[in-house]
């Protein structure tokens, strides 16, 4: 057990170390010069040199990497090239926002997709099944922004039930937080629901013909309850996988929804930082993403073994 924990910890540490080098190097080849972006069109060479000296971008790469890593190890992301603000609180704040809407969106998506996908599988040859499959397929093709714009125009603009956008942290005002968080989560969740429905359908179809479902029915389950009780869990591994992948994708991919609903999430911060070539901010955010994604996938891998005892390696 202890060796296994050590192996996992080592694995994660090595991943992060390698990732940090990669991220750092890859970002240096980004076209565009942070100094020029920061100082703009009329900057003099002196001013550029001054800026570079101030921000340490004229130092050797090794030194730059070392100071960044040194900061990371103390959980200090440094200060932004552009805004001059401390990155740590900023990024953590954004991560929190993103995690909330992505989490809620995924929850919603699962609440819709699992029953719907199962139904689509069970009825895959009938009108219902085809309809659900078709709807989910079209749903995949609906751009996030369209869902967002439609939601806003009906719920916020016409009916004025909820605000059109913006963000109130839960710590500030719980009620307002919920009012603001609903639409973005729903917008994210809708598209995710369509995507995940497709996987659920496929995974459930895969297990539907298994003998053990017949056994469950012989024990007194109906077709449906057998599927819910025994089929879904057997379809669980692929579904969990996809949820993990989609969660990772949404961490950054929520940027469209963030824009439409003016949610200050990680995605838009990252896009802005990339556009401003704020490498200090970008590399730190990418590292945060790497940590999150590795964590998500770690949980996913863990869930595999929870779901499927055959994937467990006991005692080793």
């Amino acid at each position: 057990m202890r060796t296994r924990v050590a192996w996992l910890v080592g694995q994660v540490a090595a991943t992060l170390a390698v990732a940090s080098v990669l991220v750092f190097l890859v970002l240096r080849v980004l076209p565009g010069d942070a100094a020029v972006v920061a100082l703009g069109v009329n900057a003099t060479p002196d001013a550029l040199a001054q800026w570079r000296a101030d921000h340490g971008t004229d130092r050797p790469l090794i030194a730059q990497y070392a100071s960044w890593m040194g900061g990371l190890l103390r959980a200090d992301f440094g200060t932004s090239f552009v805004t001059g603000r401390e990155l740590t609180p900023l990024i953590l704040d954004r991560v929190q926002v993103t995690l909330i809407i992505v989490g809620l969106g995924m929850l919603l998506a699962l609440l819709v997709a699992v029953p719907l996908g199962t139904l689509a599988a069970v009825t895959h040859r009938s009108a219902t099944g085809t309809l659900i499959a078709g709807a989910s397929q079209v749903g995949v093709a609906v751009p996030n922004f369209l869902v967002g714009v439609l939601l806003v125009s009906f719920v916020a603009v016409r009916a004025r039930w909820l605000p059109a956008g913006g963000w109130v942290p839960p710590a500030v005002d719980m009620a307002e937080f919920w009012r603001h968080v609903v639409l973005p989560s729903v917008a994210l969740g809708t598209v995710q629901a369509a995507i995940i429905t497709r996987y659920v359908r496929s995974a459930v179809l895969e297990v539907m013909r298994e003998d053990f479902l017949r056994t469950a029915r012989a024990a007194g389950h109906t077709r449906g309850s057998a599927l819910v009780r025994h089929g879904l869990r057997n379809a669980g591994v692929p579904i969990v996988t996809v949820v993990g992948v989609q969660l990772a994708a949404m961490l950054v991919g929520a940027v469209v929804v963030e824009r439409v609903f003016v949610v200050p999430g990680l995605g838009s911060l990252l896009v802005d930082a990339v556009q401003q070539r704020d490498l200090q901010a970008v590399q730190s955010m990418v590292m945060v993403l790497v940590v999150l994604v590795v964590a998500v996938n770690f949980v996913v891998d863990l869930l595999y073994t929870v779901l499927d005892p055959r994937l467990r390696v006991v005692g080793r």
Binding site: G32, V36, V82, V262
Partner: protein
């Protein structure tokens, strides 16, 4: 095109007794920080100038230089010495009093501490001296007509003399009617009215500036009642739609943003003035404005705005004339011309570019559009490395004609004729200045170093009960100082 845009609309008082003292304004571009002394970009001075920072003089809505922190000023005979009489009883938002030392320190700091390239506008200043607590004398190297007007822009902003330990990127200490209350990056900046403002308490206690980079989000926020006013936050087409609703006031003002179709004058085929002129004839600039900005904006052809004293209508120089364009191209031996069009990925720019490309195709020029990520790639490729043939971008700075059409600038315009003219004009009397600058503008238009497609509008859509909107952006500043509820 030389009439100033709209001035503040004054709709008749309507119903509604509630005295709101707060307003929420939506703006597209967010300041990356609060320090325009080291960071370029229009978003910072747009928010801070006039509202937080003030200058000795102000450019009013019609382009005139009027007193602000200086109640009056004297100019010496040779027009190199300005003596400013400062307003008394002015305090900074940190409580310290405003006096001549602050002006001296601020002007000196431009030279020593500023990184922003607009600092060049103060190059002409030889020295700044305190005469007494409320009098400052500025000595110029040579007479300059442009300089006083420049003082009304961010380069003339007055900071407290003692900035030790102050990080301008996160703090702004000015004499204006508002002060920064809070900054939520990616979301909003809240301004609080200063009761002790020298001009009397600010009309509103709170101004929330929300940054909505997505125009659709901005429109929705307005329609949902989340914001009260859009300041250039929606596209022209969207403003047309909002206008059609009839529930908002739509105010169009002018801006200093010339949308410039720029040629790289250094490289073929644009080293040939006939080609450049041909392009000028080939492009239907009104159609471009109609398409990219839904018809909002002003037709100009030189980089001169209606508020500039030397404004002159030159739009007739290049009428839309494809036949003429073909002829010129033929004359230049460029019947089978292919050009690469580097377009920054900004909505107005890509829209304008697509239309321009199509119109050029009509005169036999094959145009390949290359979209460049803005700002990083465009700045690097087009602006810094001059690795382009043709581009399009909005130049937002006030009175930037001479900057853009100088030899070192990315267009590589041959300013050998224009530069002496401009220098002479700047040093001459005000009338000589106006005349000289007109000649400069005419020459530049004639050389077709670049063609202004249109002057971008300042489009404001607001709750009808909001008054004090100052739509003409004569400087970079978004002047919210008179905003109030009826």
């Amino acid at each position: 095109a030389c009439t100033a845009g709209s001035t503040a609309v004054d709709p008749s008082p309507g119903p509604g007794g509630g005295v709101r003292t707060d307003v929420t304004v939506a703006v597209a571009a967010e300041p990356v920080n609060l320090d325009f002394t080291t960071t370029s970009g229009a978003a910072i001075p747009q928010l801070l100038m006039n509202n937080v920072y003030e200058t000795l003089v102000k450019i009013d809505q019609d382009g005139a230089v009027v007193p602000l922190l200086a109640t009056s000023w004297d100019v010496s005979e040779d027009r190199t010495r300005y003596t400013f009489h400062l307003r008394e009883g002015v305090t900074f938002s940190d409580g310290s009093a405003f006096d001549a030392a602050d002006v001296v320190a601020s002007f000196d700091r431009v030279r020593t501490d500023w990184l922003n390239a607009i600092k060049g506008k103060m190059d002409v200043v030889a020295r700044t001296e305190k005469v007494d607590d409320h009098t400052v004398r500025v000595t110029l190297d040579r007479p300059s007509n442009a300089w006083l007007a420049n003082l009304g822009t961010s380069v003339g902003a007055i900071f407290p003399s003692d900035l030790d330990g102050v990080d301008l990127r996160t703090t702004a200490i000015g004499t204006g009617p508002y002060t920064i209350l809070s900054v939520r990056p990616g979301d909003r900046i809240v301004l609080a009215g200063r009761p002790e403002y020298w001009g009397g308490p600010a009309p509103l206690t709170t101004i929330t500036v929300r940054y909505l980079s997505d125009p659709t989000a901005a429109v929705n926020a307005l329609r949902a009642g989340d914001v009260d006013m859009l300041f250039n936050a929606a596209s022209g087409d969207q403003v047309r739609q909002l206008d059609a609703l009839g529930t908002f006031q739509v105010v169009e003002g002018t801006s200093t943003g010339d949308v410039l179709l720029s040629f790289n004058n250094r490289v073929p085929p644009f080293d040939d003035v006939r080609v450049r002129r041909a392009f000028a004839y080939a492009v239907d600039r009104q159609a471009v404005m109609d398409t990219a900005s839904a018809g909002y904006g002003t037709q100009v052809v030189a980089m001169v705005t209606p508020q500039d004293p030397y404004c002159e209508d030159l739009t007739g120089v290049y009428p839309f004339d494809p036949a003429r364009a073909r002829a010129l191209l033929a004359e230049a031996g460029q019947q089978d011309l292919q050009v690469t069009f580097d377009v920054p990925n900004l909505a107005y720019a890509t829209t304008a570019a697509e239309l321009v490309a199509s119109q050029l195709a009509d005169v036999g020029v094959r145009v390949r559009i290359v979209t460049d990520e803005f700002p990083a790639v465009w700045l690097d490729k087009v602006f810094t490395r001059h690795d382009f043939q043709m581009s399009v971008i909005q130049h937002s700075e006030a009175r930037d004609l001479l900057t853009v059409f100088s030899h070192d600038y990315y267009l590589g315009y041959d300013d050998s004729v224009v530069a002496p003219l401009a220098a002479a004009a700047d040093a001459g009397s005000p009338q000589e200045y106006v005349d000289g600058m007109r000649r400069v503008a005419r020459q530049i238009v004639d050389d077709a170093g670049g063609i202004v497609l249109y002057l971008a509008p300042t489009l404001i859509v607001a709750d009808p009960a909001l008054t004090g909107i100052q739509p003409n952006a004569v400087t970079e500043s978004m002047d919210l100082t008179r905003l109030a509820w009826r």
